[in-house]
């Protein structure tokens, strides 16, 4: 029975879903981290470090937007 299972396709499902799911959560967490820390640091007058966290948040937002567009385009192209 095992010979009938397309293990290559199944492994593709496992690794793509695992990478995409974990990456979405981690990158979105970096966005939250960047925004919350930037706000805290700006209130305490540390504008330069706050700017760095804001840049991290912006990069994370771009990665999420890009990832979502890429993911949907891969599915549409099938």
């Amino acid at each position: 029975m095992t010979a009938t299972i397309d293990t290559g396709q199944l492994l593709e499902l496992v690794w793509t879903a695992a990478v995409a799911g974990a990456a979405l959560s981690i990158i979105f967490s970096l966005l939250v981290l960047g925004l919350v820390r930037a706000d805290d640091l700006r209130r305490s007058g540390r504008d330069v470090v706050a700017g760095a966290y804001l840049a991290l948040a912006a990069l994370a937002a771009l990665l999420i937007a890009g990832g979502v567009v890429f993911g949907v385009s891969v599915i549409v192209s099938k």
């Binding site: 199944l10 879903a17 959560s25 919350v36 979502v68």
Partner: protein
């Protein structure tokens, strides 16, 4: 025979409606329970994205139409009986508040009817194992693991920050993860109805058996039915998925939805007709268990697992009985009409009696 084809298409569209209605919980439960969205907004949002999702891929429809049963054995009566099996099982599990799989109910119903109509030789065991059973076992475990790893990473990254803005952030994040999951649901689930209508069209001779395109009107009507069903909502299953498995915080809701969307979208791309119900339930349990094993109400999880295991055989038995009764009246539309009226009568009597006793909206899983 035109009457029979029209009847099968109408019942398939009705099944699609119950699929949206039954599976609304998958799509919106986490957003509602973490208060990321109001119930009405969440359902409306999910409904629109389900409609859009139905248009973006056809790989699953092709699998449903060609990989599980021998197309030569498929008649309109077989498709009709399979749909009856799926609808009856969906309504039963909805009544008991159990998030079972509409996909497995549909495939089970068709297999049961095919077994009675043409015997075991007409069922493609290889396709069933490769495209349905193995992915059905892998997907919830995968969603469980991905959601578990994700929530651990999330707590590691944002665990020391002020909870107020962090929770607001993840509630906003659920707009993204919820949208992706709604899109994934529309993509994977609406295609099952497209596949089943395509099977009926092949059986009727409207489409060639070996190379066919799913007609645009089939895609549009399936998309509209699942969106309308989603908008109508299945509130009792929302309660089970949203708060009875675990009590979620917004970050857990985000990781469960994000992981579920990743699994279902990847599966849709590869043509696996996954159960979105299994996937989101696995994600919710993973997000809960990674925080604290005792956070998951394992008794509720056990009931859900039993419903999962029963779905395929139960729908197959109902589909087989529906086919057997229909075929007593010959190959025309009379048998399916008798079965439809009988099923409708039983449903109305059962739900009418419970509603008159005021128990329809209070009983749950």
């Amino acid at each position: 025979m035109e009457t029979m084809l029209v009847m099968v298409i109408v019942i398939a569209i009705f099944f699609d409606f119950t699929n949206g209605f039954h599976d609304t919980a998958n799509v919106v439960a986490t957003s509602v329970s973490t208060r990321a969205l109001s119930p009405r907004a969440a359902v409306a949002f999910a409904s629109i994205l389900n409609f859009v999702g139905a248009f973006i891929s056809l790989a699953v429809a092709a699998t449903i139409a060609s990989d599980f049963v021998d197309q030569d054995a498929i008649t309109e009566t077989v498709v009709f009986a399979g749909l009856i099996g799926a609808i009856v099982w969906n309504l039963l599990t909805w009544y008991f508040g159990l998030p079972s799989s509409s996909s497995h109910a549909l495939i089970g119903g068709v297999i049961g009817a095919t077994l009675v109509a043409a015997g075991t030789g007409a069922v493609n065991g290889t396709g069933l194992v490769d495209k349905l059973i193995v992915p059905a076992l892998v997907a919830p475990v995968l969603a469980f693991a991905v959601a578990g790893v994700s929530i651990l990473a999330i707590y590691r990254i944002v665990g020391r920050l002020r909870p107020g803005p962090v929770n607001r952030g993840y509630r906003l994040g659920q707009l993204i993860s919820g949208s992706l999951f709604s899109l994934a649901h529309g993509t994977n689930d609406a295609q099952k109805t497209m596949g089943i209508i395509t099977l009926a069209l092949i059986a009727h001779g409207n489409l060639p058996e070996n190379s066919f395109d799913v007609p645009t009107w089939v895609i549009a009507s399936s998309a509209a039915a699942i969106a309308l069903g989603t908008y109508t909502g299945g509130w009792r299953i929302i309660r089970t998925v949203g708060s009875r498995i675990i009590k979620m915080d917004p970050a857990q809701g985000f990781s469960a939805q994000g992981s579920g969307a990743a699994v279902v979208l990847a599966a849709s791309h590869l043509g696996y007709p996954l159960s979105t119900t299994h996937v989101i339930s696995g994600g919710v349990m993973g997000a809960g268990a990674a925080k604290r094993l005792s956070a998951v109400r394992w008794g509720v999880a056990g009931n859900i697992a039993i419903a999962w295991a029963l779905t395929l055989p139960a729908a197959a038995i109902i589909g087989a009985v529906a086919y057997a009764v229909s075929s007593i009246f010959g190959t025309g539309a009379l048998g399916p009409i008798v079965v439809s009226i009988s099923v409708l009568g039983v449903i109305l009597a059962f739900f009418g009696r419970r509603a008159s006793q005021g128990r329809l909206l209070t009983a749950g899983a």
